[in-house]
C-alpha cells in the first residue's frame, strides 16, 4: 500500500530520472500500452520508460501505462522503450516518437535472475534495482512460504546471501537473524523489521536467566506475528548504507516487508483460500544407553527415592546391569523386588507427533478510485511435547483511495493474536522434559510414570517413607518431578494481542512536488502466566523469583509495548539537464517507543489450584518497569540519474535522541552510493554472453543512541526488611558523557547477467566497523562497581556475498530447471575493548562455559576449561587418586560461534502443471558447547558411557610431576570426569550442518478437472521441512539456541529436532 504511494511518486519519475514531460501547448506525444505476463495476465507495477529522455511511468492494476513526451522532445526520433518488473526479464522495444500517440504492448517472461526490476528500499521507496549502489536482495512471498514455516525468520533461512538465521527447536521459539555479522558488542545485532513502511517491534523479552540456559520459556521473537501468507515480498537491505534513512536501528540492516494489497487485483471482487497441514516427527534424539539402570557404583535399591535406599537418591545411571534377570525394589513396587529391565524407547514414548494446521482466506476488491484487501488466517500448532499448543489468528485490512487527482489516502490495520499453552521449559529447568531425561534412571518406563502419576497406593507408601511430595508419584524425590505431573498440573500460558496500523495521506499540488504524511503504530500486550502446583519438587526461577515453590506458586507478567512513527516527506523531481534526472527528498520522523512491564508472583499458595495473589501465602514484591524513548529526525536525500545508467545517491540524516545527554544527543550521519550499468554505457562490453553488467559502491556512517537511563545514577530497591525500605547503589557506573556509537561501512559489488538473463551473478565485498560502542564495560570490582557505561571498543566485519542464479534448462515443452545458490563468508574481529580489559562476557556463564567477546578474536568465543596437559609432553595430567584427567586451572578459548561460511542452494523444476523445488542450507564452521553431552556423560545416560562399565576405562597420561602413568578408572569416575567440573573441551562440538531444509512438490490442478470453477485455480502441494540433517555434533542438532539474544553457541536439553511433512491446498483466482 505504502508502496502504492511510492509507485506514484516514483511514477512521477523521481528515482529514475524519468521525468514526465511538462505540459505543453504544442503537440505532445502520448505513449501508452499494456504489459502482460506469459499467461496474458496484467503485470501491475512494471516500469515503462524511455531512458534516453528520462521519461516514463508505471503500469496500473490492469497492466496499462500511459505517459506523454513534451513536443519539444518528441521530434520524430527513434527511441528505446523499456519495460521492467522484478521477477521478469526486461524487454526493450524500438518506437518512433512521431504523431500524437504511440502504442506498444509488452509481454514479459519470468526471469531467473533478479538483477533487474523494482525493489523496495528504505522508506518503502520502490527503486529500479539497477539504480541502487547498495546490495539488496528480494524474496517473493510465494518463495518464502513454500513449505509453510510458522516463523517468518526461519523462512528466510538459506534464501539470502549474508543473512544468518539461527533457528531453535524450542516450540514457538525464537529465531535470530544477523546480517553480515555482529556489529555491537552488547547491544542488539538483529536487523530492523519494517512492514509497509512502519518499523515493527521484534523484542524477545527473555530474561537473562533464560538466555543463558538456566530455565524459563522461550516466547519467541515478536516478528513471528507476521503471517507469511500475507507477504508480497521481503527485501533485505544488508548494509547500513541500505538503511541509513531508517535511522540508527537499521545499522544492522533492514528487512523490509511488503504485504499483499488490493493493488494487483483485477477489477471487482476476488477471493483466495489456502489450507495447510504439517506433521512434525522426531528426527533426532540423544543416543541413550540401555545397558545399566539408576544407581551408583553398580548398585541400586529403592527405598524412598531420597537417598535412604541403596543409591536411590541419585539421578544418574551407574546402577546394576539391566535385562540380566535381576529383581530390585523400584519406585513403583511398594518396596517389593521387581524386574530390572530396560525401556529403550522411554524418552521417545514421552513425545507425540506435532501437528500444524493453518487456514487462510483473503479477499481483494478493486475499482476506479479505490482498492482493498481483507485477510484472515488461523493457525493451530500442537507441539511434540504433549499438551503444548499455540494458536495464532491474524486479520488484516488495507485499502487505498484516490480522493482526487491530487490527493490519495491509504490505511491498514492488522490484528494478531498469539496464544500458547504449556510451552515446554528451555535449558536447565525442571519444566524442560529433556532435563528430566538427562538426569534419569535409564530403566524408568515413562508409560508407567504416566499411569502412576497420582497413584494413591504408592502415595500412601511414600507417606510411610516420610516423603513430602505426595501430590505426585515419581522415580526420584530428591530433584525431579514426574514429567507427566508437570504436563497436567503445571499450566503455563501466554497471550499476545497486537495491532499494527498505519494511515497516510499524500498530496501532489504540482507535477514535480509531492508531500506525504504518515503515522503508524505497533502496539501489543503480552501476558505470561506460569502456575506451579502444590507438591512441586525442586526450585523454580523465572528470573525474578528464586523461591521454594514446593507449596505451589505462580508468576504472572505483562508487557505493553507501543511504538509510534510519524513521518513527513517532501519530494521534488526535476530534470535540470537533458539526460540528468534529479530527485530531492526532505523528510522528518518522530519515533516514540514505550514499554511497560508488570510482574506479580508467589512461591507458596494457601490453597492448591487457585493462582491468584489473593491466595498467596508469601508475598514477593511486585515488579514494575516503565521505559520511554524518543528520537526526532530530519533527513534529506538527493539522487542523480544520468542517462539511466549512472546513478548517485547522497543521503544525510540528523537524529535527536532522548537517551543521550543534552548537547551530545544530536548526531548526523551521511551516505553516498553509486551505480553504473556499464553495459549500457559501453554496449561493446557485452561480450562472452554478458547481457547486463553493473558496478556499484557505497559508503556510509550511521550513529546509534544508547538504551534509556544510562546517564544518571539511580538506586535499585530490594525487598523490604521488616517493612524497612532498602535501596542500593547500582553495579554499573552511569555516564553523563555518553556519545552516539558509530558504524562506518563501505561496500562494492557487481551484478552480471548472461545469456539474456539465463544466468546471473551478484557479488559483494563489504567492510564495516563499529566504534565508540555504548557498552557496560567490566571494571575491577574494587572500584565499587562491576561495570561502567562507556563508549569503547571496535568491532569489525568484512566479507563477501555471492549469489548465483541460472536456468540451466529451459525447454520448449515447458520443462525448466532454475537454480539459485548463495554463499557468504564473513570475518568478524573485536579490535579493541575498554581500558585494560580484553574480554567482554556476553550474558553470563553457563556452568563453567561462557560466551565472550575477546580482543583479537571473532565475536562469540566459547571460553571454558581445557583438560590439564603436561607442558612438555602435552599429555593429559591425571589425578593421582582417581586417575581421571584433571582440568586446567584456568579457562581458555575452546571455540567460536562464528561460522566460516553460510550458504543455500535452491533448485526448482517445473514441468507443465508440476513444480518441484528443494532447498539445501549449509552453515559450515563454528562450534558450540553442549551441556546435553556434558551432563549426559556425567549422568551415564548416553550410549558412549557404556565404555568401561564392566571392567574399567584405561587412561594414559602423566601425573602432576610429569611421571607417565596408565590407570584403570571405573566408568563412573571416568565419565564424571568428562562432564561438569572437568575439561569443558570434551563437550565442544562442531556446529556445522547441512540440511535439506525445504522440499516441495506442487501440482496446479488442470482447469479441465475443475468443472464449474473455471474462474479459479487450484494448487496442491506436498511439502517437507528439515527432512535431512548432516552434522558432526553427537546427540544434538547443532542448529540450536536458548533465545534470539547475543548469547549463542550454548546448548542444553534442546527439544528433539523434528522433520516436518505436510500438505497444502490453495484456491486462487
Amino acid at each position: 500500500m505504502t508502496s502504492n504511494l511510492y509507485r506514484m511518486l516514483a511514477g512521477a519519475g523521481l528515482m529514475l530520472g524519468m521525468v514526465p514531460a511538462m505540459a505543453s501547448a504544442q503537440q505532445a506525444t502520448t505513449v501508452s500500452g499494456r504489459v502482460t505476463n506469459e499467461a496474458s495476465a496484467p503485470v501491475p507495477g512494471a516500469s515503462v520508460s524511455i531512458p534516453s529522455l528520462g521519461v516514463g511511468s508505471y503500469t496500473g492494476n490492469d497492466g496499462r501505462f500511459t505517459f506523454t513526451v513534451a513536443a519539444n522532445r518528441a521530434t520524430g526520433q527513434n527511441v528505446s522503450l523499456v519495460a521492467r518488473r522484478i521477477g521478469y526479464q526486461p524487454v526493450t522495444a524500438a518506437v518512433t516518437l512521431s504523431g500524437a500517440t504511440v502504442s506498444h504492448d509488452f509481454r514479459l517472461s519470468t526471469a531467473t535472475t533478479q538483477l533487474e526490476g523494482v525493489v523496495v528500499t528504505a522508506l518503502g521507496l520502490e527503486r529500479e534495482k539497477r539504480s541502487l549502489g547498495i546490495a539488496a536482495q528480494s524474496v517473493q512471498g510465494s518463495d518464502l512460504n513454500k513449505t509453510q514455516t510458522p516463523n517468518i525468520v526461519n523462512a528466510l533461512s538459506g534464501k539470502v546471501a549474508g543473512v544468518k538465521v539461527v533457528g531453535s527447536t524450542n516450540f514457538g521459539g525464537s529465531a535470530r537473524v544477523v546480517i553480515r555479522g555482529e556489529n555491537s558488542i552488547s547491544g542488539n545485532n538483529q536487523p530492523l523489521w519494517v512492514v509497509d513502511g512502519i518499523p515493527i517491534d521484534n523484542s524477545n523479552f527473555t530474561n537473562t536467566t533464560q538466555a543463558r540456559g538456566y530455565g524459563g520459556y522461550d516466547y519467541g521473537n515478536a516478528t513471528q506475528d507476521l503471517n507469511t501468507e500475507d507477504i508480497e515480498s521481503v527485501s533485505v537491505l544488508k548494509g547500513p548504507a541500505a538503511a541509513a534513512l531508517y535511522g540508527s536501528r537499521a545499522a544492522n540492516g533492514a528487512i523490509v516487508v511488503t504485504t499483499r494489497s488490493g493493488k494487483g487485483a483485477s477489477r471487482g471482487f476476488q477471493a483466495t483460500a489456502s489450507s495447510n497441514v504439517t506433521f512434525d516427527n522426531i528426527s533426532k534424539l540423544p543416543d541413550y544407553q540401555n545397558g545399566y539402570g539408576q544407581g551408583t557404583g553398580g548398585e541400586f535399591e529403592y527405598l524412598d527415592g531420597q537417598g535412604n535406599g541403596n543409591g536411590d537418591g541419585t539421578d544418574e545411571s551407574w546402577g546394576p546391569k539391566l535385562d540380566a534377570g535381576l529383581m530390585i525394589p523400584q519406585w513403583f513396587s511398594n518396596g517389593q523386588p521387581a524386574p530390572w529391565v530396560s525401556h529403550p524407547n522411554n524418552v521417545r514414548d514421552f513425545f507425540r507427533r506435532g501437528t500444524t494446521v493453518s487456514n487462510n482466506i483473503s479477499a481483494t476488491g478493486s475499482g476506479d478510485r479505490a482498492n482493498f484487501r481483507l485477510s484472515f488466517g488461523a493457525e493451530n500448532m500442537d507441539g511434540i511435547v504433549p499438551t503444548s499448543n499455540l494458536k495464532r489468528i491474524t486479520a488484516g485490512i488495507n485499502g487505498t483511495a484516490s480522493l482526487s487527482e491530487k490527493l490519495q489516502a491509504n490505511a491498514s490495520v492488522q490484528y494478531v493474536r498469539n496464544k500458547a499453552n504449556n510451552r515446554p521449559g528451555t535449558g536447565y529447568d525442571e519444566l524442560n522434559p529433556i532435563m528430566g531425561f538427562t538426569w534419569f534412571g535409564r530403566q524408568v518406563d515413562s508409560r508407567q510414570l504416566q499411569a502412576l502419576v497420582t497413584d494413591s497406593t504408592l502415595q500412601a507408601y511414600n507417606r510411610g517413607q516420610g516423603i513430602d511430595f505426595t501430590n505426585q508419584v515419581n522415580w526420584n524425590y530428591n530433584y525431579h518431578n514426574n514429567p507427566y505431573w508437570n504436563l497436567t498440573q503445571n499450566q503455563n500460558y501466554d497471550d499476545r494481542n497486537r495491532f499494527i496500523g498505519s494511515a497516510q495521506v499524500q498530496y501532489k499540488p504540482t507535477s514535480w512536488l509531492t508531500g506525504m504524511v504518515r503515522s503508524g503504530s505497533d502496539f501489543y500486550n503480552n501476558m505470561r502466566a506460569n502456575n506451579i502446583a502444590q507438591g512441586w519438587i525442586g526450585g523454580f526461577t523465572d528470573g525474578r523469583t528464586n523461591g521454594d515453590f514446593t507449596g505451589g506458586g505462580f508468576t504472572n507478567e505483562t508487557y505493553f509495548v507501543n511504538e509510534n512513527n510519524t513521518d513527513f516527506l517532501l519530494t521534488a523531481v526535476t530534470t535540470p539537464l537533458e539526460r540528468l534526472g534529479l530527485t530531492l527528498n526532505l523528510g522528518g520522523n518522530r519515533r516514540t517507543r514505550s514499554e511497560n512491564q508488570r510482574w506479580i508472583g508467589t512461591d507458596k499458595l494457601v490453597t492448591g489450584g487457585v493462582y491468584n495473589m489473593s491466595n498467596a501465602a508469601t508475598i514477593y514484591p511486585a515488579f514494575q518497569y516503565d521505559e520511554r524513548r524518543q528520537i526526532n529526525s530530519l533527513y534529506g536525500t538527493t539522487q542523480f540519474a544520468f542517462n539511466d545508467y549512472f546513478f548517485v545517491d547522497v543521503t544525510g540524516r540528523n537524529d535527536w535522541s532522548s537517551t543521550l545527554p543534552k548537547g551530545k544527543n544530536s548526531y548526523f550521519y551521511p551516505s553516498v552510493s553509486s551505480s553504473l550499468v556499464f553495459t549500457d554505457l559501453m554496449p561493446a562490453l557485452k561480450i562472452g554472453g554478458l547481457s547486463y553488467g553493473k558496478l556499484r559502491g557505497a559508503w556510509t556512517r550511521v550513529g546509534s543512541d544508547a538504551n534509556p537511563y544510562l546517564l544518571a545514577t539511580t538506586y535499585a530497591s530490594n525487598a523490604p526488611y521488616f517493612g524497612q525500605p532498602r535501596f542500593t547503589l547500582p553495579a554499573t557506573v552511569s555516564n553523563p558523557e555518553l556519545k552516539p556509537e558509530q558504524t562506518q561501512a563501505w561496500e562494492v559489488g557487481t551484478e552480471l547477467s548472461f545469456l539474456d538473463g539465463r544466468a546471473g551473478l551478484d557479488l559483494t565485498y563489504y567492510t564495516k566497523r563499529t566504534t565508540d560502542q555504548i557498552l557496560t564495560a567490566s571494571v575491577a570490582p574494587s572500584t565499587g562497581f562491576t561495570a561502567a557505561a562507556v563508549n569503547a571498543g571496535a568491532l569489525s566485519n568484512k566479507g563477501i556475498e555471492v549469489q548465483l542464479t541460472g536456468s540451466p534448462i529451459k525447454m520448449n515443452n515447458g520443462f525448466t530447471w532454475d537454480v539459485t545458490a548463495n554463499y557468504a563468508h564473513n570475518t568478524n574481529k573485536l579490535e579493541s575493548l575498554y581500558g585494560a580489559s580484553d574480554t567482554y562476557l556476553v550474558g553470563s556463564k553457563f556452568f563453567n562455559t561462557s560466551i565472550e567477546a575477546r580482543v583479537g578474536q571473532p565475536y562469540g568465543s566459547i571460553v571454558g576449561f581445557p583438560f590439564r596437559r603436561d607442558s612438555a609432553t602435552h599429555q593429559l595430567v591425571l589425578s593421582s587418586s582417581t586417575g581421571t584427567p584433571l582440568r586446567a586451572t584456568t579457562t581458555t578459548i575452546l571455540g567460536n560461534i562464528q561460522p566460516k561460511w553460510t550458504g543455500g542452494l535452491i533448485n526448482t523444476f517445473r514441468y507443465k502443471s508440476f513444480d518441484i523445488s528443494g532447498q539445501v542450507d549449509a552453515r559450515i564452521g563454528g562450534q558450540l558447547y553442549s551441556a546435553t553431552n556434558a551432563w549426559g556423560k556425567y549422568a551415564g545416560i548416553l550410549a558412549s558411557t557404556l565404555q568401561g562399565r564392566e571392567d574399567s576405562v584405561t587412561v594414559s597420561g602423566v601425573l602432576a610431576n610429569g611421571t607417565p602413568v596408565t590407570k584403570k578408572v571405573s566408568a563412573e569416575n571416568y565419565w564424571h570426569g568428562q562432564g561438569y567440573n572437568s575439561g569443558d573441551e570434551g563437550n565442544i562440538y562442531d556446529a556445522s550442518f547441512v540440511k535439506l531444509r525445504e522440499l516441495r512438490i506442487g501440482w496446479a490442478v488442470p482447469q479441465s478437472l475443475l468443472r464449474g470453477m473455471s474462474a479459479y485455480r487450484l494448487n496442491v502441494a506436498l511439502v517437507g521441512r528439515n527432512l535431512l540433517t548432516h552434522s558432526n555434533a553427537e546427540n544434538i542438532d547443532p542448529e540450536t539456541a536458548f533465545s534470539a539474544g547475543n548469547q549463542q553457541g550454548l546448548e542444553f536439553g534442546q527439544l528433539p529436532a523434528t522433520r516436518s511433512l505436510g500438505f497444502q491446498i490453495s484456491v486462487t483466482p
Binding site: N308, G313, L513, T714, T783, G784, S881
Partner: protein, 501 residues
Amino acid sequence: MMRKHILRTSLVAASFVAGLTACDNDKLTQVNANPNQPETVASGPLFTNATISALSNLRGSSFEHGFGALWVQHYAEIQYPESDLNVPRGSTVELFWTTFYSGALQDYTQILTQSAGAADLAGPALVMRAFLVEEMTDLWGDIPFTEASRGSANLTPKYDPQQVVYDSLFASLTKAASTMTGAGASYGAADPIYGQLELSATDQAKQWVKLANSLHARAALRISQADAAKSRAELTKALAGPVFTSNDDNAFMIWPGGTVANPLCLNWFGCQGTRDDQRISQRFVDTLLITGDPRLQKYALPTVASTLPTAGTCDVPYRGFPNGLASANVKNPCTGKNFGLADYSKPTLAIRSQTSPSYVMTYSELLFIKAEAAQRGWIAGSAAQYYNDAITASMKQWVVDPADIAAYLAKPGVQYNAATGLKQIAYEKWVSLFNLENEAYAEWRRLDYPVLKPGPAAVTPTVPTRMPYPAIENSLNASNLAAASSAQGNVDINGHVWWDK
C-alpha cells in the same frame, strides 16, 4: 524557477522542523528521566540494605560455607566437593569479591559520603564497614582499600598492605566509638542489628559503641602475632571503652524469611528447592561426642536414618560426614552399601531455618579475647575466669541447661590450665564460633589449633590458609594485583596472610 521552488519549500520545511526540534530538545531530554528508580536515597534504606547484603554474603553464604566452614572442618560437602578437596571454585571466589566491593561496601561508603559528620547512620556505617573489611582482608590479605570504591575516578585501585588496612580499621572504629553519642541521630528501625530492640536513640547508639569497641578488640587481637605491641595497645584502647557485657549485647540480624531469609537456609539447606549439599563434619561431631559437649545437640540434628521406623543398628543418632572425600563412592562402613543423605547430621533449625539469625559478634567471643589477653598478661583479670565465662556465655547463647554447663566446665580436659591455656582457648573458640565460620577459620589460622588435616582425596597436603585472588582482578587490575602478589609472596591457598605467622 523550479529549483527556486524546491529551495524555498525545503527551507521552509527545514526551518519548521528544526525549530520544532530545537525547542523540543529540553522536553526530549526529560523523556530520559528514569521513572523506575530514584536518583537520591536517604541513608536509612542504604544502611538497611548494606547490612543485609553484608550478612547475606557472609554468614551461611555460599562463600563462608563454600570455603572457611569446610576448611575449619565444621562442615563437609556431600554433593560438589571441590572446595572440600582444596580446589576453591573460582566463580564463587569471584562472585563474593565482587559482591563485597560493589554491594555492601559501596553502600556504606555512600552513606559516609552523604552523611558528612556524625549525624545520620554514619557511625554505624563506619562500624559495619570496618567489620566487613576485616572479613575481607582476613581472607585475602592485601586488598584494595584506600583507593577502592571510587568508581570511574580510579579504575585500577592499588592494593594496600594488610597492615595498612588494619591501621585504618582501628582508626575507623575509634572514630565511630567517639562520635556515636546518640545526639542528633536516630538510627531507628533502619538499623537491622539493634533496631528491633526499640531502644531510645541514646541507648541504641550506646549499643553501637559497644559493638565498635568489641570489634576493635577482635581486630586488635587478630594481629597479635604480627605486631604484638600494636595488638596490645589497640586491645587496651578497645577494652577501655564500653564493650559487650552480656549475651544481650550480641550483635546479630534476624531474618524475616521468604526472599530475605537466612542465607544458610537459602544456599545450603533447602529454602530454595532441593538444595541439600552439606552435613556437619565428622571431625567436629566426633570431637564433640568425645568431649561430651552439650552444644552438639544444639548444633546438630540426629540423623534422619536413626529416627526412621526402619532404622537399623547402623543408624547412629549423630554422625558427621568426612571432609575431603569424592562423595560418590562413599560406603557405609556398617552395611557396605552406598551411603544415603539421611545418614548424616544436619545443623539444627536454630541454625538453618529461614529465620535463624546471623551473627556479627557475640559476647562469648569477647570473653575469649579477654581470656587470651589476660593469659598474655596484657590485661588484668583471671584468664581462667574469662575462659569459664566465655564457655558459659556460649552455652547460654545456645540455651544449654545450667547443670550441663557446670558439668562440662568441671571436666578435667576442659578445666583451664595456664600451661595449655592458649590451646584450650583456641579449641573452645573453634567450638563456640560454630555458625560464625569465617571467624572460626581466622582464629584457627592464627592460633593453629586444633590440628586439622585435609581429607584423603584433597589435592593439597595441608588445609588452605588463605583465599586465592579472583581472576577478574587479574584481567582488570592486573598490575596492582601483581604488585600485591609479589609483596606477599605465596598468594595461593597455602600462603599466609600478614597476621598469620
